[in-house]
């Protein structure tokens, strides 16, 4: 669904979100500057910005299939990594000067393994060890921060040595402020969706968020400020919806998925997804004397975690409970794609919990790049008929 808002900055965001080698990346490269690709949310963009790189969050947008990637993966591997890897094998990621793969789920880790053996000539390839646990009582806090800080220090040193750059404390502080500003602005965008009739649809929000994964932060922040001012001044989108919904789960790159739900009469007001609200759930301490430690702390203690982190279920329940209250959510759709085991197993806990709490919950499996299917439509329509209390 489109709100019909006439906004050149929104059009720019949609263009940035729609391709890998988008105009921002092209312009950046033409200036002789470097791009650092990364998987996934626990990777410090601040470090790359301080080193003079454009951080580029890896995506599968534009993929037409997984034929080449399938040779490298097992049938148990998810389609997010297959589509991303297929894009790499077909030369769509030739602009990368480096790739940092976090120890996210096992599927993401296989990207790192395969990237080493595939004929891909990315100058720097690094596996960043991020703790896969909220920590036992004795490990929580300082030991976890120290551990991740050490991993970040190793990465920083490697970037400095291999590219001949210096990542100074002032540069890191500046980068932290820049990234925090992005997070705050994105939060403001979500705040607007608390209204009875939000001025922006879920699909449009998704494109704005996706644009932020590959645009230089100064430019993105400036454009987002303009868009926010326009949205604040615009009337909400008047539509009769059956229910206000929250979407949870792994990465959603295809705005058509949100469209499908909203065309069916749902109003998606909030999410807990990889490219969505989870991105701006907290900010890094800007005043810390040790910026690297502040970044480490943010990524092991402060942010919202996905199910790849052991012990994050309690936090997820709270995030969802808060969203239900703040955004007046009437139903939750837990989406995922085939073989996404972290979310698949997480729903086994989440589903019964929501049912017991009386919150309508729909579990949906979808394709990664194409969301249109009769069965998906039927499930969404039936769920909305159930939640809305009227057929």
């Amino acid at each position: 669904m489109r709100s019909g808002i006439q906004s050149p900055v929104y059009d720019k965001f949609a263009q940035l979100a729609g391709t890998l080698l988008n105009p921002s990346v092209e312009e950046w490269k033409q200036q002789g500057r470097r791009v650092m690709g990364y998987f996934c949310l626990f990777i410090p963009e601040e470090l790359f910005i301080a080193a003079g790189f454009l951080p580029f969050r890896m995506r599968g947008i534009g993929s037409c299939g997984t034929a080449q990637a399938d040779a490298y993966f097992d049938s148990k591997n998810c389609y997010f990594v297959r589509h991303c890897f297929d894009q790499a094998l077909t030369g769509q990621y030739h602009f990368l000067d480096g790739l940092v793969v976090g120890t996210g789920c096992d599927h993401i880790r296989r990207i790192y393994d395969n990237w080493q053996h595939a004929p891909l000539k990315t100058p720097l390839l690094h596996l960043l060890n991020h703790p896969r646990t909220m920590g036992t009582p004795e490990m929580q806090g300082e030991p976890m921060i120290s551990y991740y800080r050490a991993q970040l220090a190793r990465l920083k040193e490697r970037i400095e040595n291999e590219f001949g750059v210096e990542v100074t404390v002032p540069r890191m502080r500046k980068a932290i402020k820049l990234c925090n500003e992005t997070r705050r602005l994105q939060r403001q965008l979500y705040e607007l969706r608390k209204a009875d009739h939000p001025p922006i649809t879920a699909a449009e929000t998704a494109l704005v968020m996706l644009a932020g994964t590959s645009a230089p932060k100064e430019q993105y922040n400036n454009d987002l400020r303009v868009l926010l001012a326009e949205l604040v001044a615009s009337p909400g989108i008047k539509r009769d919806y059956k229910a206000r919904l929250m979407i949870v789960g792994p990465a959603i790159e295809d705005p058509n998925f949100y469209d499908l739900i909203e065309r069916g009469g749902g109003c998606v007001v909030v999410d807990d997804t990889c490219f969505g609200a989870r991105t701006g759930s907290a900010v890094v301490d800007e005043m810390s004397e040790d910026p690297l430690r502040a970044i480490a702390k943010f990524h092991v203690l402060d942010t919202v975690f996905c199910p790849k982190i052991n012990g994050a279920h309690v936090q997820r329940i709270k995030v969802i409970a808060d969203a239900i209250q703040d955004y007046r959510v009437g139903g939750i759709i837990g989406q995922g794609y085939v073989a996404c085991d972290p979310w698949g197993t997480s729903y086994a806990l989440l589903g019964p919990h929501l049912k017991a709490a009386g919150t309508p919950f729909l579990r949906l499996d979808r394709e990664y790049v194409s969301t249109e299917s009769g069965q998906l439509q039927t499930r969404i329509q039936a769920f909305l008929e159930t939640v809305g209390g009227q057929v």
Partner: protein, 274 residues
């Protein structure tokens, strides 16, 4: 009030007409390659059975099923989950759990005491546990769907079908045929395999009595027996054709919607309300 419902499924088209509370179901029509034609054939049959002149006699029609957006004469469309819920509850108000096994999917639907859908589960994107699975097996066994459904083919020594994928299960059945296993043993094994698959869906929504089976596969007595045994309940037999429940529910919903529409019009213009 005269209203109708049309259920365009993956393999058949069904239509039902309600004249006040009197139900008329049309013949089950095999799906053609043109959904609009299938819908028209199904509705024409129901119109004839109801003794009406034409579709113009109907005040509201709800389309449902996979082809619900392609029913050319529908005034509204509703998911088959809601329609099966409403249809089964209309036919028998004690029903709380519906198991619908159609041509390309199966669903378990839970109802509250007012007949509203509280929860549903559907099969994943594969043919296991659906009518398509039976079609594949009937072809391999050259016994027709009637042979699979026949009580004469219920055996006390069913084979075990380990694969749930239709393609792999087909290979498994071919092996069993070549081992010269008795046909009833294989057929009972096939029905048991589908019942296993479907029962897990039902357990997710909860087995609340009365439980009833709808959809084309509800006519397979071998499957009915296997599923009843697995779930430990005797299914409620509906007083109407269980394959037409989706269309019946669509007609009931059409009636409700039309009543709301008329009430709104009457309150907006009291003179019209008489």
């Amino acid at each position: 009030m005269i209203v109708g419902g049309c259920d365009l499924g993956s393999t058949t088209g069904k239509a039902a007409i309600l004249i006040d509370d009197q139900l008329f179901c049309g013949d089950i029509i095999s799906a053609t390659t043109k959904p609009a034609l299938t819908a028209t054939l199904a509705m024409d049959s129901a119109i004839k059975k109801a003794g009406l002149k034409s579709i113009a006699d109907l005040e509201a029609i709800v389309g449902t099923g996979y082809g619900r957006l392609k029913v050319p004469f529908a005034t509204d469309n509703v998911s088959e989950i809601s329609c099966h819920g409403r249809g089964a509850f209309w036919a028998c108000a004690t029903v709380r759990t519906i198991i619908d096994i159609g041509g390309q999917d199966c669903k378990a639907i839970s109802l509250n005491d007012n007949g509203g859908v509280t929860q549903f589960e559907m099969n994943e994107r594969c043919a296991a546990g659906t009518g398509r699975f039976f079609q594949v097996m009937a072809k391999v066994l050259t016994c027709g769907l009637e042979g699979i459904a026949s009580t004469a083919n219920i055996s006390a020594n069913p084979v075990s079908i380990s694969n749930q994928c239709s393609v792999f299960a087909e290979s498994e059945v071919i092996t069993l045929i070549n081992e010269e296993r008795p046909l009833p043993d294989i057929i009972t094994g096939i029905n048991k395999s589908v019942a296993n698959r479907v029962s897990s869906l039902v357990r997710r929504v909860g087995v609340n009595i009365d439980v009833t089976l709808t959809g084309g596969c509800s006519k397979n007595e071998g499957l009915v027996k296997a599923l009843e045994k697995l779930l430990g309940v005797a299914f409620k037999r509906l007083p109407v054709d269980p394959q037409s429940i989706g269309a019946i529910g669509a007609a009931v919903i059409a009636r409700d919607k039309r009543q709301v529409q008329l009430a709104k019009a009457a309150s907006a213009n009291p003179q019209l309300g008489g």
